[in-house]
Symmetry: C2
Subunit: 190 residues, 2 copies
């Protein structure tokens, strides 16, 4: 018998991604988002939800573009900070020692120090309540050579991203490989 715990946003796990935008003056801004995930394979799309009160929210609407920066565990404090401070009154780049890079493909900056980034154009917007969901079409992924395997594919253990759990209010590391996808379940096929 399961216990009811009410209507709450406590599903887990969630990623910790930092979203890059420009403001009306072309100033680069970054903020952390965990209400986010891949939402289409073709064209590749990612959904990112931000509160309308955030400085980044207006930047996405204005430029119809954003970047998703997959942050490594080694930059956990920098990532957390980008979810605490506001770009309205703080230069987060300077404080956290991060460097904006102008995307050549979309009107948004990505983080030089992030090992794996997606450049996105806004494809769909949904007002859901406290959060607005922005669906971006990924026009390119860019990765540091250090996170690619010998076939040129990004490896999660090399990126070393981390996780957020709202129920715990904690960050978690990504653990070890446990099985091959679309293989381990074949034991139930006959």
């Amino acid at each position: 018998m399961k216990k009811s715990i009410g209507a709450k946003p406590l599903l887990c796990p969630s990623p910790v991604w930092v979203i890059g935008t420009y403001d009306a003056e072309g100033k680069p801004n970054i903020m952390t988002a965990s209400w986010a995930g891949t939402c289409c394979s073709s064209p590749p799309c990612v959904a990112v939800s931000l509160r309308s009160a955030t400085y980044s929210h207006a930047g996405i609407q204005l430029n119809q573009a954003f970047t998703v920066n997959v942050m490594p565990r080694s930059m956990m404090a920098e990532s957390d900070f980008c979810g605490i401070a506001s770009g309205r009154d703080t230069n987060k780049w300077e404080k956290a020692g991060l460097t904006p890079v102008r995307s050549e493909l979309v009107n948004a900056p990505y983080i030089a120090e992030a090992p794996f980034v997606a450049e996105c154009v806004l494809k769909h917007t949904a007002e859901l309540g406290l959060h607005t969901m922005f669906v971006g079409e990924i026009v390119d992924l860019k990765a540091d050579a250090t996170v690619l395997n010998d076939k040129g594919k990004p490896e999660m253990k090399k990126i070393d991203p981390f996780l957020f759990s709202m129920g715990d209010m904690q960050y978690f590391a990504v653990g070890e490989v446990i099985a091959k996808a679309f293989e381990v379940g074949k034991i139930f096929c006959d």
Copy 2:
């Protein structure tokens, strides 16, 4: 200098959740989804993307409801299987040893053996390409007592969910707690 790796759905990490629906005859169905994530805090909402070719896709449209079942690492093979077989021609419940439970709140079944589930009513639909994104409003979360802490909150280490990475085509465990959210970044505030 980052390397371009093209427009691909390779962001990571992604959750491994199993989606519960009824078909037109009221038969319960389940399928695995990793293109998914929380997308609003209030009302709490979750986005789940399915290909229109899947059997579950029609079930969500028909009943305007679905469940999200957070699967533990111990049920990794069962979860993987639910992403390989189709409910059109396979009784996945029987093959994987899973038990459907009729939700009293939404017209969808959840999995008795899943430790943490969300019951959702369809709030928004977006056709993005290969995938349709379904946004569900969470009307209740239900949890096994074994995954709750002494304050009645779900703990991720007790749920023990696992992760998918499309770049690796592997499942990963959730690792250890590494920091308190909205705290560790304060070192950059002054």
